[in-house]
Symmetry: C2
Subunit: 186 residues, 2 copies
Amino acid sequence: MPHIKLPEGLQGIRGPMAFRPQTAKPLNELAEALLHAPNSLPQADRELIATYVSSLNDCYFCQTVHGSIAAACMNDDQGIVRQVKLDFTRADISKKLKALLVIAGKVQKDGKLVTAEDIAAAREHGATDVEIHDAVLIAAAFCMFNRYVDGLDTWQPKDEELYRERGKKTAREGYVTMSREYLPVD
Amino acid sequence: MPHIKLPEGLQGIRGPMAFRPQTAKPLNELAEALLHAPNSLPQADRELIATYVSSLNDCYFCQTVHGSIAAACMNDDQGIVRQVKLDFTRADISKKLKALLVIAGKVQKDGKLVTAEDIAAAREHGATDVEIHDAVLIAAAFCMFNRYVDGLDTWQPKDEELYRERGKKTAREGYVTMSREYLPVD
């Protein structure tokens, strides 16, 4: 049971977002800018960074939601998502994404662990400054989202199928549009 | 030197914010909603939660900025800020804030560590559901801001005086107004 009285029937982060629309608005706009807005970094790659960091933080809701969205961006390939969580160095993903996942994994622990060598490795595989910035901020942002979802003990039903269809819709429509289901429209 | 090429002369988070206005906008709006907007939780208390979590994450820039803002909200009392970072249980702050700092300290490690007893203790000292929600989200958000600032190795000049005057201005004017110095106005 959630630690505070949240609107019923809303999974994970949607409960506290509906409870507190004042903070939900910038949170959804941040997710939209990082994960769904046009970007030279593919949408699947950005969602895989979010999924990987959420798995390191052991947040069931976030890793399942964003894993579903990542899969939806890759012809529903759940295998790549599983492999990224298990050992991304052996996953069928680009060398650039692997280098960004190294950075993201360090940010998840402590931003100060990121070295000039980690950045140089990402650049060698073609990462731009904006892509490096976004990888760092996605990793940092999921250290927030994961703690928000778990710190309030939100409702996280353990049925992956529930997350699949929703993942496809979020991959298409993005975070701000999806939030209209439970947030008052401006 | 920052890991990516950031606009020069901007300390801490302002560098990457000026570099990437698309994400700076929701980040400043989130800080505004949590720390500066009207709230039953005093502004000083909210800034102390931000300062405490930033000190646990060992982020020099964030703990110094938000410590300065917190002090500015308490007649420039730097002593309380120092004591909260050192051992908040002995600080001259309310029992409610102490109970919220216990929750914030757990969220900083892992949201799943927060117990029903921690929440009950906060309620016993008068915390409302919105105040508990906001304490959890402030703690979670600073796990993001700290990692963003340190993960890009931003410029963090080690001179507390630099942060004092700015802290007073931010305490008065808030985050969105202050961001107009380095962000394009909509």
